[in-house]
C-alpha cells in the first residue's frame, strides 16, 4: 500500500508541471494588463511602465515563467501585485472558510442523500421513489443563487434565525461558525444531495438484484439490516466517487454561493484575481487546486479498499 501511494504521488508531478505551464500561458495570454489596473485612471504612461518593470511584465513570457517556476518549487508563490501579501498567506486565509463550507455541506448532503437514495431504490418505481427523484431533479435544476436568495429572504430577513452574510471563523466558536454557514450549506446541499441521491439509488438498485440479497431475505433478515449493513456497503464505490468529486467541486467551485453569502472562500479569491489579472495569485491558486484535486482523488481511490475487498489485494 505505501508503495502504491508513493507511486500515485509521483505520477502527479508531470501532471502538475503540465498544469502550471498551461495555466501560466492561459493567464498571460488573456488580454488585460495588471499594471494599468493597479495604476488607476489618472496614471501616466511612465508610472505604468514603472509598475510593469517591477512586476517583471516587461520581460519575455519564457523568462517570466522561469522566474515564477523556480520560485514556486521553493514554495514561494510570489505576492499579490495589489496588496503585496504573499500568495501562500492569501490562500491560507481562505482555506478555513472553504474547508468548513465544503465539510458542512458534505455532512448535510450525506445525511440527506444517502437515506433518500436508498429508500428510493428500495421502493423503486413506487410513489416514494418518484417523489424523491422529482425533488432531486428540482434540487439539481434550480440555480443555486435562486435557492440562496429564497433561503436568505425567509430565514435571515424575515425570521432572523441566521445572518444574511459573512463567515465567523472557528476562533469565534464552532457554534458561530456553523450558524454563519448553515444557509449556504443548505443551498449547496440541495444541489449535491440531488446528484448523490440519484447515484445512490442507481447503485443500491443494482445491488438489490444480486443473489446474496435474496439469500439474506430468505434467511429472514430484516429489510433495514439488509439495506444498511449489506447493500449500502456493497454499493459504496460509486457513491464515494461522487462524494469525492462533489467535495473537490466544493473547494473553489462554488463562487456564486460564496458571493451571495459573502463567504471569503478560495473560489472568490480566484475570480477576484482573474478579474484583476493578479497573475501570481491566479497561478498560485490553480497550483493549489491541482494538488488538492490529486490528493482528493488519491483518498477516494484508497477508500475503495474499505468497500471492495478486491481492491485491497
Amino acid at each position: 500500500m505505501p508503495a502504491y501511494i508513493l507511486g500515485r504521488l509521483a505520477a502527479a508531478i508531470p501532471t502538475l508541471l503540465l498544469v502550471s505551464v498551461f495555466i501560466f500561458l492561459l493567464v498571460h495570454l488573456a488580454p488585460g494588463d495588471p499594471a494599468l489596473l493597479i495604476a488607476g485612471d489618472n496614471a501616466s504612461p511612465a508610472q505604468v511602465d514603472q509598475i510593469r518593470e517591477r512586476l517583471h511584465l516587461d520581460q519575455s513570457l519564457p523568462a517570466q515563467f522561469v522566474i515564477w517556476f523556480s520560485n514556486a518549487i521553493q514554495l514561494d508563490l510570489g505576492a499579490s501585485v495589489y496588496s503585496g501579501k504573499p500568495v501562500t498567506v492569501l490562500i491560507a486565509q481562505r482555506i478555513e472558510p472553504t474547508f468548513m463550507l465544503a465539510a458542512y455541506t458534505m455532512v448535510l448532503t450525506v445525511l440527506v442523500a444517502i437515506p433518500l437514495g436508498t429508500i428510493a431504490a428500495w421502493r423503486a418505481n413506487g410513489l416514494v421513489d418518484r417523489t424523491i427523484m422529482a425533488f432531486s431533479v428540482a434540487g439539481f435544476s434550480v440555480p443555486v443563487f435562486v435557492t440562496s436568495y429564497l433561503l436568505v429572504y425567509l430565514f435571515a430577513v424575515k425570521l432572523r434565525w441566521f445572518p444574511v452574510q459573512g463567515y465567523k471563523p472557528l476562533s469565534d466558536g464552532i457554534g458561530a461558525t456553523l450558524v454563519s454557514l448553515t444557509l449556504p450549506s443548505i443551498a449547496l446541499m440541495l444541489v449535491f444531495a440531488a446528484l448523490i441521491a440519484r447515484v445512490t439509488r442507481a447503485a443500491v438498485l443494482e445491488v438489490l438484484q444480486e443473489n446474496f440479497v435474496r439469500t439474506l431475505k430468505a434467511k429472514g433478515m430484516s429489510t433495514g439490516r439488509i439495506l444498511v449493513l449489506h447493500v449500502l456497503k456493497t454499493a459504496g464505490v460509486p457513491i464515494v466517487t461522487v462524494i469525492g468529486i462533489g467535495f473537490a467541486a466544493l473547494i473553489g467551485g462554488v463562487v456564486v454561493t460564496e458571493s451571495v453569502f459573502n463567504i471569503p472562500g478560495i473560489g472568490r479569491l480566484t475570480v477576484d484575481a482573474i478579474v484583476r489579472r493578479d497573475y501570481p495569485v491566479v497561478q498560485g491558486i490553480i497550483l493549489f487546486f491541482s494538488v488538492t484535486l490529486i490528493l482528493i482523488n488519491l483518498m477516494v481511490d484508497l477508500s475503495y479498499a474499505l468497500f471492495d475487498p478486491r481492491v485491497r489485494g
Binding site: 489596473l37 493597479i38 433495514g224
Partner: protein, 565 residues
C-alpha cells in the same frame, strides 16, 4: 414512511427518522411524538450541536460598537499614492492624515498644519505642524516625513507634478517646519496639497515615503484617526481598523475633510460583499451600517423599511462620459467628432442607467458639472440637442467613408453595459458604421492605453465616469488639459487649452478664473475630447441609527456615531 422531526428550538437537526424500516434497531429510540432518532453518543452529540447552534443564533448579529461599511470596491492596497482607485482613497482617509483639507465651502483649511505663512511675493510657504501628531508605529510626525511624502506624491499626482515643476525647493528647516519655495508665483499650492481626491497627499513616515511611487507601500503607517489591523486584514473580504488612541483631533467641529476628526467607534470594518442584493439585505437587517452605492433598480427594497434608508448622495455626483480617441479614424476628423455629438443625447443614456428615478440624474452639458462655481451653458447646443439629420449632413461633408466605430462593450459593469446598448443604435441611426465587441473592464482599461490603430489593438471610444470633485476643478479635470500625447486617454490636443490652464493656475481672482473656465468649456466642446452624457447622483444606503454622518464627495467615517436608543 419517513417522518421529518423538526424541533423549532433546535433549528434543524433531529432530522430524519425511519419508521417501519424493519424491526427497531437498538440504534434508534422513539420519543413521545413518535419521532425516532439516533440513540447513544450520536444523539447526544447531535443535541449538543443543536444547542450550540441555538445559543449562537439567539443574539442579534450586529455589534453596536463596530461600524461596518460596504464600499464599491475592495481594499486591496494601502497606498493611495500608487493608485488613483477611489475605494483605496476612501479607506486611506481612515489611516492617513493630510496637511491641509477642504471644508464644506470647498475652502482649504489647515489639518495637520498649525499654520501657514505666505511671503509677500507669493513664493515662499512656511508651514508649521501642530503638536501631538503621532504615527501608528508610535514615532512622532516630523517635517521631514511631510517633505518626503509630498515629494513622492509630486511624482505621480497630476496637480502635484505641475506644482513640483514650478517649485524651486521643498525642505524641512526643523522638526515642525517645512518651507516650500516656488520658482514663480503659483496660486494652486495650498489647493494642491489640500486636494480631497486622488491622489490625496497623505503623510507617511519618511522611510516609507522614500519608496518609489510605482512600488506600493505595503506597511500601512499613517497618523490618521484609525489604524489598519494588518494581521486581520483579508484582501477581498475584510479590512478591520481600530481607533488610534494616539490621535489628537483638531478643536474645530468637523467640516467635510477639515476640522476635528472624532473617532466615535472603537472598530471599523470595511466588508467586501460582492453581491449587491446581499449587501442590501445585510443593511436592512443591521449587519452592516453603510453602503456606498445602491443601484437605482434596487431602491424599492428600501420602501417601508425602518432599519435603513437609501438617499441620493448629492455631493457625490458622478457622471457618464464617452471618451473619444483623436488619433484613430474616423474621430481624427473634427467634423466627424461634431457629428458624434449630434448623434447622441443624454436622456436615453440616463434612463438606461437609472430607470424612472429622475431625481438620480441631471441633464448637464457643463464641462465643470452643473451646480458648481464654474457651471456654464456656453457652446452646449451640439452636446445637448440630438439632430440626426445634421449629423448625417456633417458626415457627408466630412466625406465619411464608413470606417467602423469600434465599440468595446463592457458587460461586467451594469451601468456601462446598459449605456453601450443605447450607444450602438444611436450611432447607426445617425449614419455611423459600428463594430461592436464584447469585453470586460480589465480588457478595456488596458486597451484604452493603446495609441495604435484599431486593427492593432487600439480603440475609438469608451465610457467612463469621473466624479464631481475631480471634474469641478479646471486643474484636475482631464478633459480640459489639451495635453496631446502626454494627456489622458484620447489624447486631444489644444495649445490654447494648455495655455488657459497655466493662466488659471496663476491667478487667485475668482472672476478671472470663472472667465477662463468658460473659455475652456467653449474650446473643449469644439475639440470633443469626450461627450458628456449626464450627471448622476447615486444613492447611498445608511443605517437609520447613525447620526453625524458627513455629507461629502468622499465618504468620511469620523464624527459619525450610533444614536442612543
Amino acid at each position: 414512511m419517513i417522518i421529518v422531526c423538526f424541533h423549532v428550538k433546535y433549528v434543524t437537526l433531529r432530522v430524519l427518522s425511519i419508521r417501519n424500516f424493519g424491526e427497531k434497531s437498538d440504534l434508534f429510540v422513539e420519543d413521545a411524538k413518535g419521532c425516532v432518532f439516533w440513540e447513544d453518543k450520536l444523539k447526544k452529540s447531535a443535541l449538543l450541536l443543536t444547542a450550540a447552534l441555538a445559543t449562537a443564533a439567539a443574539p442579534a448579529f450586529a455589534d453596536d460598537s463596530v461600524l461596518r461599511l460596504r464600499m464599491n470596491g475592495d481594499i486591496n492596497s494601502v497606498d493611495p499614492i500608487s493608485t488613483t482607485n477611489y475605494t483605496i482613497r476612501n479607506a486611506s482617509y481612515l489611516i492617513y492624515d493630510v496637511l491641509f483639507a477642504l471644508d464644506e465651502n470647498f475652502e482649504v483649511q489647515p489639518q495637520m498644519a498649525e499654520s501657514v505663512e505666505v511671503s509677500e511675493d507669493d513664493l515662499v510657504y512656511t508651514i508649521t505642524l501642530r503638536d501631538g501628531l503621532t504615527f501608528h508605529d508610535g514615532s512622532p510626525v516630523t517635517a521631514e516625513d511631510a517633505v518626503a511624502s509630498l515629494t513622492r506624491w509630486g511624482k505621480v499626482d497630476g496637480l502635484g507634478k505641475i506644482m513640483f515643476s514650478k517649485m524651486e525647493s521643498i525642505a524641512a528647516t526643523d522638526d515642525k517646519t517645512l518651507v516650500i519655495t516656488m520658482a514663480e508665483p503659483w496660486a494652486q499650492v495650498l489647493p494642491a496639497i489640500g486636494k480631497i481626491s486622488s491622489n490625496i497627499p497623505v503623510i507617511m513616515p519618511k522611510r516609507l515615503a522614500e519608496q518609489d511611487p510605482g512600488d506600493p507601500v505595503i506597511e500601512p503607517i499613517g497618523s490618521g484617526p484609525f489604524r489598519l489591523l494588518v494581521d486581520e486584514w483579508v484582501p477581498g473580504s475584510i479590512a478591520p481598523y481600530e481607533k488610534f488612541e494616539g490621535y489628537v483631533p483638531r478643536d474645530e467641529p468637523a467640516s467635510m475633510a477639515a476640522g476635528g476628526k472624532l473617532a466615535n467607534f472603537d472598530r471599523i470594518e470595511i466588508v467586501n460583499i460582492p453581491d449587491t442584493s446581499t449587501a442590501i439585505d445585510a443593511l436592512l437587517t443591521g449587519e452592516i451600517d453603510w453602503m456606498e452605492e445602491v443601484p437605482a433598480d434596487m431602491l424599492p427594497l428600501f420602501e417601508g423599511q425602518d432599519e435603513a434608508v437609501a438617499e441620493p448622495a448629492l455631493q457625490s455626483g458622478n457622471s457618464l462620459q464617452l471618451v473619444v480617441n483623436h488619433l484613430n479614424p474616423p474621430f481624427d476628423d473634427p467634423k466627424i467628432r461634431h457629428a458624434l455629438q449630434l448623434a447622441l443625447e443624454q436622456e436615453p443614456f440616463m434612463q438606461s442607467m437609472n430607470g424612472d428615478n429622475t431625481e438620480l440624474y441631471e441633464i448637464c452639458g457643463a464641462v465643470f458639472f452643473c451646480n458648481t462655481p464654474f457651471e456654464s451653458d456656453v457652446n452646449t447646443d451640439r452636446v445637448l440637442t440630438r439632430d440626426v439629420e445634421a449629423a448625417k449632413a456633417l458626415l457627408e461633408e466630412a466625406g465619411y467613408d464608413g470606417t467602423p466605430v469600434h465599440i468595446m462593450h463592457v458587460t461586467d459593469i451594469a451601468g456601462q453595459d446598459a449605456a453601450y446598448s443605447v450607444l450602438k443604435p444611436m450611432l447607426e441611426e445617425a449614419g455611423f458604421v459600428v463594430d461592436e465587441q464584447i469585453a470586460d473592464w480589465a480588457t478595456v482599461s488596458t486597451r484604452r492605453a493603446s495609441k495604435e490603430p484599431v486593427a492593432d489593438g487600439g480603440w475609438n471610444v469608451f465610457f467612463t465616469g469621473w466624479g464631481y470633485v475631480d471634474q469641478i476643478n479646471p486643474m484636475t479635470n482631464v478633459y480640459v488639459a489639451g495635453a496631446c500625447e502626454d494627456g489622458w486617454f484620447g489624447w486631444a490636443c489644444s495649445e490654447e487649452l494648455q495655455e488657459l490652464r497655466e493662466r488659471f493656475a496663476a491667478t487667485n481672482d475668482p472672476e478671472e478664473q470663472k472667465a477662463l473656465a468658460i473659455r475652456m468649456q467653449e474650446i473643449t466642446h469644439d475639440l470633443v475630447p469626450y461627450v458628456p452624457l449626464g450627471q448622476v447622483y447615486p444613492s447611498q444606503g445608511l443605517s437609520t441609527d447613525l447620526e453625524g454622518y458627513i455629507e461629502s464627495p468622499v465618504p468620511f467615517f469620523w464624527n459619525v456615531s450610533r444614536a442612543e436608543n
